[in-house]
Symmetry: C2
């Protein structure tokens, strides 16, 4: 029996990078910031699909146009690259949340805005949630603890507590409910590749489909926490 072929990245990489470089680079053959961002983008998908130990540096290099040696030049090693990938969306999400006027809104509107923002952010960083899952599965959250993911959660907890105080929301366990809300926002993206095989024709990256998910998620979550009249 031939072995499994779970990965298709194998040999032939050395040939594969002819000179795609000189095309997309108008000038300035050396732009360290752009190169780093490019590496992070490719690494984000590879780590999301395979986790820290499963990701292949060759695969990341193949997704960037630069060589594997360059990745080691910019990032100390595989682990350093992983930490950088994990850190980036945490900061970007936090920055996005900071700009929302959540405190000025009624709990209900604040929750709706937060959910909308979180899903939009997930769309902008398509692999964020997958990486977090890989992190939990493989490393039991070791690197998650080092990144700055606490703050975004705090926003959600605060809204829930505010809503319970003023009677808009029913009495819930804030942590468990926060997890449930996060689950509704994200599960769509993490299970799509399975569900697509058993559900009628879907294209979950399709903006219209994402919009429908957003609307359904908001309606679902608000109904779930609102105090019944």
């Amino acid at each position: 029996m031939v072995s499994v072929e779970c990965r298709s990245t194998v040999g032939r990489l050395s040939k594969a990078t002819p000179s795609t470089r000189s095309l997309n680079k108008p000038r300035q053959a050396r732009d360290s910031e752009a190169t780093k961002a490019q590496i992070l983008n490719a690494a984000e998908e590879e780590f999301a699909r395979h986790g820290l130990s499963g990701a292949r540096m060759d695969a990341i290099a193949a997704g960037t146009g630069v060589t594997k040696a360059m990745i080691y030049y910019y990032f100390e090693n595989k682990e350093g690259l992983y930490q950088a990938v994990l850190q980036r969306p945490a900061h970007e999400l936090l920055d996005a949340l900071k700009q929302l006027p959540l405190d000025e809104l009624a709990p209900e509107q604040a929750l709706e805005m937060l959910v909308k923002g979180a899903i939009a952010h997930e769309v902008a960083h398509p692999y964020q949630q997958m990486i977090l899952f890989q992190e939990a599965s493989q490393n039991r959250g070791k690197y998650f603890a080092q990144a700055d993911w606490q703050a975004p959660f705090a926003y959600l907890l605060k809204i829930l507590e505010r809503g319970m105080v003023d009677g808009t929301f029913r009495a819930v366990d804030p942590w468990l409910t926060a997890i449930n809300i996060a689950g509704v926002c994200n599960f769509y993206f993490t299970t799509y590749d399975n569900v697509k095989h058993i559900a009628p024709d879907w294209d979950f990256r399709n903006p219209a489909m994402v919009e429908r998910h957003t609307q359904e998620a908001i309606a679902f979550i608000l109904a779930a926490v609102k105090q019944q009249k």
Copy 2:
């Protein structure tokens, strides 16, 4: 091609294995079914943590007490073992659902029973959901499509549609809502290892904690889909 010829590195392995066996094993008589189940249990956790390509046959063997060669004896190869692991909980979940009198209950009660059953099943198979996620991430659902996961979903869809017809539930998109419900049931288990680092002292395998999650999930889901009076 300067031939490398330093293949001599391989020969040094012979020192390494000091035969840890033969100490005190209950020496169970040869029981192929028990051994197979034992292998599947160990494989379930390893595949859940690392996925098909990331799982290590050595690690699985270490978790069973039998040698790696025995795993290849019982299962054709890594892929065959993976498929067996993926298949098992699908059938067990389906069998469990078949025994629930869902059709005889009102949609609301049926949904509650289904959610309770699904969470209980997840607790009995602690790594089921993680494997499904790994499957989506790494293999884009290729093996998921081969296992029999369609049927359990059908039960949920049917209940939702029944509830919309009789007016118990509000008008929702059945598929998106089914995914949201599955997300609420499962997200707790898949993110615990991350969340535990930022939430106060939790022990999510603790039965009392699981019971709280079950209650919160049921309340959350029912409130989310019920028609407002």
